[in-house]
Amino acid sequence: MSVKSPETAVVFSTGKDRSVGLPRRRRLSSYFGWGLAWACAGLVVSALLDLLVTVVMKGVTSFRWDMLTTVTHGIAGGLQNAILGTLWIVGIAIVMAAPVGILGGVYLSEFARSGWARTVRFWTEVLSGVPSIVVGYFIYLLLVLGLGWGFSALAAGIALLIIMLPYIVSSTESTLRQVPWSLREGAWALGLTRFQAVSRVVWRPAAGGIATGVLTSIAVALGETAPLLYTAGWSAYNPDWHLTHSQVGYLTYVVWTYIEQPYPEAHALAYSAAFLLLVVILCIHILVRMLVRRWGGGAKSHL
């Protein structure tokens, strides 16, 4: 055997050139498979790049600093009303969504019996799969018309709340579940109640993950258009900080409507609004990355 091996080694090393039939077909199909995968990946990345480059190029050239301090006039002017309106609506939404979502996640991970928790988790997933336009229409029927709030910041905020909740609930629950059981036992053994154990001890190593969920939900909410179409209305004036019976402008509305207008001034506003949203959302995602790296995404780094 050892005598034969040099010969066979030679055959194998040059086999590439000599081989015919099946091996070549295999090699070709392998190249083809790889090529296809690369092409698909390239298609995805280039579409994303094209979108980013378009928004950034047109955004940078059309953005003027005075857009931050002036309100919209017809199809021109600034974006101050939309910026403040977006902050106002998302602010209302997060003030409700963060406590409800975090407490809901705590409930699921620490208190719910597993059968009940599974049911709630299932419906949370269903909720996250509901098209956002449906959420908007639901709120439109229930609050805008039903309770007669009219197009308003509160109705829009509640629509966003429904969009945001699943993100916060699931990230809170999953990071709390990663916290070692020994910490809960340590806290209970000192005579802490289950709620005290969570509120004083168990949340600490999970804080990064919980913050990540809240930030991600804010990023999602900032970019939402559909749930606001039926709920916020539009206003060319700065928000008057009334919760109901007062329409509010918001950035995604500018993107959505003004890009369809046949005027360069309108396009400038739309691209600037898109650019602003892109920058803010990018910053949030960078912050999330930093949080995840710093906290290790949960409890692993501590015990």
Binding site: S114, P180, S182, L183, R184, E185, G186, A187, W188, A189, L190, G191, L192, T193, Q196, R200, V201, R204, P205, A207, A299, H302, L303
Partner: protein, 250 residues
């Protein structure tokens, strides 16, 4: 001052599996009792029934009676039981992101100690009792997770002592520690038993002879033998105890 514990007809289950079979045992006040036996014999389950930690595991249940002096622990609220019967675990579990000081002060604050001076005084007293004060008195504000493993375990002991329990349960408290740290924990146990009733689960038979006045031998969920440590190790009454302490199995 420690209190005595009397256990009558204690059985425990995890789901369908019975891990304790009708245990009767009397633990005298201010003594250290070692609980020995091979893995899976129910010794951890036994101590976890004494502070009602057993029932925190989903699917776990128990029967029988556990009394502290005259009080039935299973008629009290479990949270109150755990304040009287403290526990130290196998693996040190200091609270992460909390400082050394806050690890101890946390439970004190929740039990109503508000004044800073009183908090500081009780934290210091607990750390001194756990023989840790001299090592950490300049590092009270540092995260507890920066201490060494042995120091973390003594911190956990200090944390349990701070709420002034009557009984201290220790579930293999030194098995994750190096020999020097183990010796310090053992010294500590000998020192603490004048003030507390101590129950210590251990795999290490030398450790049992060094720290315990009394020793209980468990096998397959049953209490096989219980008596003075010297008697259990030198003149065991039961054949199975003899086999175990002579190292013939387990």
């Amino acid at each position: 001052m420690g209190k005595s514990i009397s256990v009558a007809g204690l059985s425990a289950w995890y789901g369908d599996q019975q891990t304790l079979q009708s245990i009767d045992i009397e633990l005298k006040a201010n003594t250290a009792t070692a609980v020995i036996g091979p893995s899976g014999c129910g010794k951890s389950t036994f101590v976890r029934c004494l502070n009602r930690m057993h029932e925190t595991v989903p699917g776990a249940r128990m029967e029988g009676r556990v009394r502290l002096e005259e009080e039935d622990l299973y008629r009290m609220h479990p949270v109150d039981v755990r304040r009287i019967v403290g526990m130290v675990f196998q693996k040190p579990n200091p609270f992460p992101t909390l400082s050394v000081f806050d690890n101890i002060a946390l439970a004190l604050r929740l039990s109503g100690v508000r004044r800073r001076s009183e908090l500081a005084e009780r934290v210091e007293r607990s750390l001194r009792m756990a023989a840790l004060w001299d090592e950490v008195k300049d590092r009270l504000r540092q995260p507890a997770t920066e201490l060494s493993g042995g120091q973390q375990q003594r911190l956990c002991i200090a944390r349990a002592l701070a709420v002034e329990p009557e009984v201290l349960l220790m579930d293999e408290p030194a098995s994750a520690l190096d020999p020097i740290s183990t010796l310090r924990i053992e010294e500590l146990i000998r020192d603490l038993k004048s003030r507390y009733t101590i129950v210590i689960v251990t795999h290490n038979m030398q450790q049992a002879t060094r720290v315990a006045d009394r020793t209980a031998f468990f096998l397959n969920g049953e209490l096989i033998e219980f008596g003075d440590t010297s008697q259990v190790f030198e003149h065991p009454r039961d054949r199975r105890t003899e086999d175990y302490v002579c190292g013939r199995f387990g």
